[in-house]
């Protein structure tokens, strides 16, 4: 029996009466990089939020890491699933180091200071996101890209085997975006961690994801191995664009080229 | 929106008419009309020298405080912001108390002028402090500077009054805030400020709409954030200064009227332009209704207006909060 990172069955969710997810069912494989793709407002962020218990569903059932969402205590869930939301906020006088240590909340003892393990996890997270040099800066003193990497470091410091990232490449230039995705791939392969990532760039999804879920208008139109899902037909119908998928020499995955809105 | 404004206007008008009739003795419409037409006698005197002034002052004070509170909450993005947090009331009270204890005056005109000067001077001090704290672009710094100055001045006032008990007795009617026993010519102080504040608010309305976003986004759509913030706070202070000159320190109205106005439209947040009108109408309406009740609840005495305002406004606020699912500022 395959193990699932998360299962959603017939999940419906809404914001103040405006429907956001209409009865979606999904099985997400463990130890993979899963990408959520789809147009704006198609429900991919909402799906991520309900999977992490940040938004209450109207109906349907969700289980994460083999247990129903409602059965997890907040701390236990945080040790299993870390998440970086789309626009996180912290006071501007917080230092990077303190921010990253906040990721250790679920592991820290109630009365004691940070343990050696906490310090090591933060150090590793800072190292891997190249923020070690900047750890004494307050977050007001960071550029947009540095700030994003500080938050990624905080999420990684949580040391959870499953990590949800909502548009993590926001504010990152192309080089840093690829670096982050390479890092994610490394963590997935070397440490068997699972990722769910909301990605806008279809080529990045094509290159890095093992499994893609396509959303459209609050429903799932396709879910499966990347190259089975990201086909010319599927992409052009979900996004309403004209596109071609081309195999380039020397690349193991094809690239998607599009040239505007679909006519007709 | 139009229906809501017309409805509020009609309610305000009826409240004003009722306010002319109601009190320790209820007059019939004929008495009121003849009094307004220049009739004579005790009843006419009561209507023209007592009830008419307090009604008009109630309307102006309510509108000014409602608008002032809206401006404060909009530019600071803080739901706890209210005119008193710029030190307006505390400054006015200190100047009035100093005027009474040191200079020894007690006339209403003197009190009104001292109140206005105190309010403006204190706001200027608050701005100066928040600029020297390099916090002019950080609304929280302005609010903290304001609340601290207000507490400091209130402490001075309280000490002065504790030491000089006669001043406390002569000023108590003013310090507790009321629309009663106020001369009609106080409107010469308050009305120009209300008109100026109103004009200023409409002038900055579209900038205030943009300020609902974060500062950076507001800048990218072309708003000079710091200038708009300081200008709007200055208008808020002027409006509140006019109000305190007319009625003395009135609490709660500036805080609650904008929150009420925001929730009148159901689930959508009205534009700033609409909110300006709604806040003024809501403020004026609650002020007049509360003033009528203030005459009645502890008759023949007069209940303090801030307390009655809370009794009228709080149930309304809680009701509107519970009716609306999502809240935003």
């Amino acid at each position: 029996m395959p193990e699932f990172m998360a299962r959603l069955s017939d999940v419906t969710a809404a914001y103040d009466g405006t429907p956001a997810l209409s009865g979606i069912s999904l099985d997400l494989p463990d130890n993979r990089i899963v990408a959520f793709c789809g147009p704006n407002g198609s429900g991919k962020s909402t799906a991520l939020r309900v999977m992490r218990g940040l938004h209450t569903v109207e109906s349907g059932e969700i289980s994460v890491a083999g247990r129903a969402l409602a059965d997890w205590s907040p701390k236990d869930l945080a040790r299993q699933v870390a998440m970086l939301s789309q626009s996180p906020q912290a006071p501007s006088d917080l230092t990077v180091e303190d921010l990253v240590m906040m990721g250790r909340f679920a592991h820290r003892g109630r009365f004691s200071g940070p343990s050696a393990e906490d310090v090591a996890a933060c150090g590793a997270a800072l190292q891997i996101t190249e923020m070690t040099e900047l750890k004494h800066r307050s977050i007001a003193q960071l550029s947009g890209g540095q700030l994003q990497r500080a938050w990624v470091a905080m999420t990684l410091a949580q040391n959870a085997p499953r990590i949800f990232l909502d548009e993590p490449t926001n504010h990152l230039d192309v080089a840093h975006a690829f670096e982050l995705l390479d890092l994610i791939r490394h963590l997935s392969r070397a440490e068997n961690r699972s990722f769910v990532i909301v990605l806008h760039d279809l080529n990045m999804a094509m290159r890095y994801a093992d499994h893609v879920v396509l959303f459209k208008q609050g429903a799932v139109t396709a879910s499966g191995p990347t190259q089975d899902v990201l086909t010319e037909d599927a992409v052009s119908s979900v996004f309403g664009i004209s596109c071609r998928i081309l195999q380039l020499d020397g690349l193991d995955r094809p690239v998607i080229v599009s040239w505007g809105k679909k006519r007709g | 929106m139009t229906r809501l404004v017309i409805g509020l206007c009609l309610m305000l008008l009826s409240a004003c008419i009722l306010s002319l009739h109601a009190g320790l003795t209820f007059f019939d419409p004929a008495t009121v009309i003849s009094a307004l037409a220049g009739g004579e006698g005790t009843d006419a005197l009561i209507v023209t020298t007592l009830r008419l002034p307090r009604t008009l002052i109630g309307v102006c004070t309510g509108a000014a405080l409602g608008l002032s509170g809206l401006l404060m909450q909009s530019v600071t993005r803080n739901p706890l912001a209210e005119p008193g947090l710029l030190g307006v009331n505390a400054g006015a009270a200190l100047f009035v108390t100093l005027g009474a204890t040191v200079l020894g005056f007690s006339g209403l005109a003197g009190i009104g002028t001292a109140a206005m000067l105190g309010a403006v001077a204190t706001t200027a001090l608050v701005f100066l402090l928040s600029v020297s704290a390099r916090g002019a672009d950080n609304p929280a710094t302005t609010l903290l500077a304001g609340v601290t100055v207000a507490a400091l001045l209130a402490s001075f006032t309280q000490t002065l009054l504790l030491i000089d008990e006669t001043a406390l007795e002569t000023l108590l009617f003013w310090l507790s805030g009321s629309f009663a026993d106020r001369a009609l010519n106080l409107l010469f102080l308050g009305l120009p400020l209300l008109v100026a504040g109103c004009a200023g608010s409409f002038f900055f309305a579209s900038s205030l709409d943009a300020l609902r976003l974060d500062d950076a986004s507001a800048r990218t759509v072309g708003v000079n954030v710091m200038f708009v913030r300081i200008a709007a706070l200055a208008f808020a202070a002027l409006l509140a200064a006019g109000a305190v000159a007319m009625a003395g320190p009135v609490l709660f109205l500036g805080l609650a009227a904008p929150h009420l106005a925001r929730r009148l439209m159901g689930d959508t947040l009205p534009s700033t332009r609409a909110l300006i009108v709604l806040s003024m109408l809501t403020g004026a309406l609650i002020a007049v209704v509360a003033d009528i009740l203030a005459r009645i609840v502890v008759a023949p005495g007069e209940a303090p207006i801030s307390a009655v305002l809370a009794l009228v406004g709080v149930p309304l606020l809680v009701h509107l909060l519970r009716r609306r699912k999502a809240v935003s500022l």
Partner: protein
Amino acid sequence: MTPAIPSAVRLAPVLGLLVLVTIAAIGIGSSFMPPERVVSALIGQGPRMDEVIVWKLRLPRVLLAVLAGAALALAGALLQRVVRNPMASPSVLGISDGAAVGILLFLWMFSDQGNNLTVSVHWQPLAAILGASTFGGLVMALALADRGGNRSLKIILYGIALAALAKAVVTLLIILGPVYRASQALTWLTGSVGAAHWDDVLTLALGLALAAPFLASQRLVLRQLVLDPESAATTGVPLERAQFILLAAAVALTAVATAHVGAIGFVGLVAPHIARVMHGQFRSFYLLSTALTGSLIVLSADLLARTIAPPLELPTGALTALVGAPLFLYLLIKGRRYHA
């Protein structure tokens, strides 16, 4: 980068100042006592007369100021984090006013014609605690019953509504209640440590002793609450429960303090901010620093209240701002850019 001063060492200035002001406050009074006599009386080496003055008369008052200041400052720090608003304090959210309603109802219901209480005055703190918990509980219940939306903003809005309601009830009770109780009520509303007894000191000390381990266990949660609610939740904070119990703790601290010293204002608002500039809000011992700052403000205010216009003794609460405001304004202007 600033050299790393250990957080515990950063407490030294405020702690030192507090000790100095304490000795001064014990020494200053109708008969002046120089510091060395104060210290020898405190350690039981002084003349009999000094010991009586210090232990019977002055120490309870000084300790009450210290404890009440600490409790109010802690309540303010909790509230500012829970509702994520730097302007929050026990008095804007209706807790102090709730306590006032309790006290006034108590004075009103249990007074006879001769201006005497018909029950023991020892019940008065209980009335304050009941009043504060009723209003604090109402705020929490309304905010919890209200699903969806921004919980912090809801707590604030219900808080200001109920604060206004409590203020109105207080005003009406003063007007409608027995006249001879009005001045007593007013003194209580401003707040004073003048009527300190060892009983008050012990109850308040007990309250703080109970709160201390709880606060120590919640300090990480409290720090986590500076993140946006969603990020706090993903790191494992049980958000709703945390907000609820911290709010309840703030209500309890305010209630116990106001029950014994009245509605002393401004400390709860400003002490957390002073501690934040002087100490740093993300360092360890931030709460301790806040508590010590609160103690220092109320103690200094009371010292001033006794000495500013002798023989008249002013209520302590009238002077907390006189002490706290200049200090905070100085820090606001002098301090590095202040992030609220």
